[in-house]
């Protein structure tokens, strides 16, 4: 993978470069603020950008704004936002930002997840390949926030589990092994989720994203 990193903390930036190099990935640019990030993505067109949320000058949500802009302007670049805090609103904004030419992969993880190097690099690869990687924390918050919506209330607990793993960006095979059920059973659950959430049959991947969005936007 060719990667651009935007993180204002020098120690974390260096750590990320080290981890990714260790796993054989190339960091084409490592920058410290949102403006430099936009310039680096314009220049290098990387497979994926790792973006911190709080960066200079205001240290509020500069990273999210930049990530949304990249998603709109660079359908070939996946964006993995990583942050000390999870804000459901940021997740929803990030996921709903797409360009007219389709959208690349997207992820939103707590910074601590880099502690599990293997999982972090897997998540990054998923995003680079056009997939999704949402932090379990996002999913938990979204689940508790969506208990009030009627559509999602009709899901069985098992379907909830499947949907939350879908939101984390897992494939059917990965969901099956996590929940210790057959892949066939996962497929059935996914089909039920689609029909309960009234998602018209089309491209399955697209419907997966829509189901997750329904989750986040409610």
């Amino acid at each position: 993978m060719r990667i651009v990193i935007a993180e204002d903390s020098a120690v974390i930036r260096a750590g990320l470069v080290e981890i990714l190099a260790d796993r054989g990935h190339e960091t084409v640019a490592a920058v410290g603020d949102a403006q430099a990030l936009r310039a680096a993505v314009d220049e290098h067109e990387p497979d994926v950008a790792v973006v911190d949320v709080r960066m200079p000058p205001e240290y509020t949500d500069e990273g999210i704004r930049a990530a949304i802009a990249i998603r709109r302007e660079h359908p070939g670049t996946g964006v993995l936002v990583f942050s000390q805090y999870i804000e459901t609103r940021h997740a929803a904004e990030l996921l709903s930002a797409t360009s007219s030419r389709g959208a690349a992969g997207v992820g939103y993880l707590l910074k601590d997840r880099v502690g599990d190097v293997g999982e972090f690099v897997d998540a990054l690869s998923r995003v680079a390949a056009g997939g999704t990687a949402l932090d379990p924390e996002v999913v938990t918050q979204v689940l508790s926030a969506t208990r009030r919506t009627d559509d999602l209330d009709t899901l069985t607990p098992r379907e909830h589990d499947v949907l939350s793993l879908m939101a984390e960006g897992r494939t059917n095979g990965a969901i099956a092994s996590t929940l210790v059920i057959s892949e066939r059973a996962v497929e059935k659950n996914v089909a039920n989720i689609f029909s309960k959430l009234a998602l018209a049959p089309s491209d399955t991947d697209h419907r997966r994203v829509l189901a997750v969005l329904r989750y986040l936007e409610s």
Binding site: V11, I19, E58, V114, G115, S144, R148
Partner: protein, 297 residues
Amino acid sequence: MDRVTPSPGRGIFLAFGARHIKGVAVSRWIVTVCFVIAAVVLLAFGHWWGALYFLPAGLNGSLAYLVPRWNLLRDAPKNVERVRELQRSRALVVDDAAARLRRIEQDLHDGAQAQMVAVVMKLGLARDHLSTSAARLQGADLDRALELVDAAHRGAMVAITELRDLARGIHPPALDEGLGAALEGLAARSDLPVEMVVDLPERPSPAIETIAYFCAAELLTNAAKHSGAQRARLEVLHQPGLVTMRVSDDGTGGARLEPGGGLAGLAERVNTVDGRLRVNSPAGGPTVVTVELPSHV
């Protein structure tokens, strides 16, 4: 205000009506008034010498009544100015405290939290390398090293979570994007489904936003923990000069403002900016807590 000297009129009234007032205080004012009346009456009838008998005590008592009141009146403009000064300095202190807390959170974020993330990354990497070498080499020392690194890694992960909770308790970062955004996150993290009605056309000052946020956090936690409620509602309205926040739940009620309790603590915090906190929570519910805050300190 227990020790205010009773006025002569009130003293007479109390002498007839209320026995629990200290006899000394009551009789002193009665005697003063009687002496003054007696002196005036005797003067009016031309009994100079008789008046002289009552005059000193009457004058003395009257002065004791009038002098402090005159002093108060004389100092009133100075006191008004002093109150204004205190309000100004309190506003500075409250604002400064809010800014200082934000800075502490920022320092934690840039310092300890970032360092811990870097530590966790290195430990994670070390653990992965050790476990691949351990599989290849089968050494007991290597296994022990792997165990140690693994334990350190787990400890560091816990420390990061604790640091994050600590930092959020000092100053929730989402507040930088506004009270509405921060409350949204709060509602999302709540154990109860929270219906939100937020109308904040303008941002109140940072100290007010912080107080409102922590009130909402505590009140929603109370609703989830103690009330047995199924759902809660959080309303925030900002009219010119006044932020009104109402947190209600459909629980069993019975919440009270007790000294030393959580609600009293909130009320105290609200009082520091001349705000008000009211609790309406009849037994059987529902509970409605209303917090009113000035827009600016």
